[in-house]
Symmetry: C2
Subunit: 168 residues, 2 copies
DNA sequence: AGGCAGTTGAGACTGAGTCTCAAGAGCAAA
DNA sequence: TTTGCTCTTGAGACTCAGTCTCAACTGCCT
């Protein structure tokens, strides 16, 4: 009765509607995605499958992810990185992200008032929204308690530059 | 007198603070960015400079963009594409984006109520925000009137082709 | 003049993501 | 059973934005 099997069923229904088939590769991917991951990257998935000795190629992973995104079961999100992350969608719980620039933690939240306000803005601009994507970057509670600063390497560099100027 | 020259001055001040210099390459880039562009891509900039016979390398463009981002004069934004876009920051006018998935139009908006709500959310999660990034994808007024369907990335493709020719 | 940090362009490199192509699987009609 | 068709797959070539390296150059300081 695991929920994962239900997700595989949902995917199969979607595929059939498109005249496509649920293959063993596709099923393993759905199983992997819905069993353990929350936010993940395509290559991470490739690695995990290889670890489990499930033979599946990079191309198939990307192709399946595309199908999953089309089916609405998986979402592509930006997490402030220079490449995509994915997350599975359970039910219809849309949410947005707080991203800690110090430790990389990702905190999810959902706020109906925020969504309502966005809809108002769209109406005012006569824009028909289909999807949105909000990331708030900053420092999480744990990191601010530790007093850590974001972007440490830059700071170090600036201090070094400062020292050089002083010497001169 | 032109605002552009003031921006160059601002950049120079920033650079000096870091023990760096305002070179002619850096000045031309700032001039280009603040004169005409709003949202732009790095390769687009490379193309424009070549068009104007200003000799400047890809590496220098990326390096200068990085400095401009550090200085706070330019912002890196995601516009729903798979690579970065940049926008210059005038004053401190933060804004977010409505992005038409049919024609690629980008509509800016600023909504204090939305920002206030975001601050409330952060407070509740004890998260210290430094920056946020909101894109709402959908269909703009003109396109919904025309009844056009999303996903016609011709415009983007043309820019990529332009860049490709340049590259070699 | 010599030293030195900062800067540059050319081009090699990286790595996520895409595309191509030949081979295989499954199914349906003949 | 054979033929034909569509879907699917893996291997690996390819793309392209972005990064890195390195030798050459600049201009300032002593």
């Amino acid at each position: 009765m695991p929920a994962v099997e239900r997700e595989i069923g949902r995917f199969q229904t979607f595929l059939q509607g498109q005249g496509l088939k649920l293959t063993s590769e596709r099923a393993s991917l759905v199983r992997e995605i819905f069993a353990t991951h929350y936010h993940f990257e395509a290559d991470e998935l490739l690695f995990k499958m290889k670890e489990k000795s499930v033979k599946i190629s990079r191309a198939t992973i990307y192709r399946t992810l595309e199908l999953l995104v089309k089916s609405g079961m998986v979402r592509r999100v930006h997490l402030g990185e220079d490449h995509y992350h994915y997350e599975h969608v359970t039910g219809n719980s849309h949410h947005d992200h707080l991203i800690c620039t110090t430790c990389g933690a990702v905190i999810e939240f959902h706020d109906p008032a925020l969504e309502a306000r966005q809809r108002e803005i769209c109406e005012r601009k006569r824009f028909t929204p289909t999807f949105h994507n909000l990331q708030i970057l900053g420092i999480c509670e744990a990191c601010s308690k530790k007093g850590e600063l974001p972007d440490a390497p830059d700071r170090v560099k600036m201090i070094q530059l400062g020292a050089l100027q002083l010497r001169k």
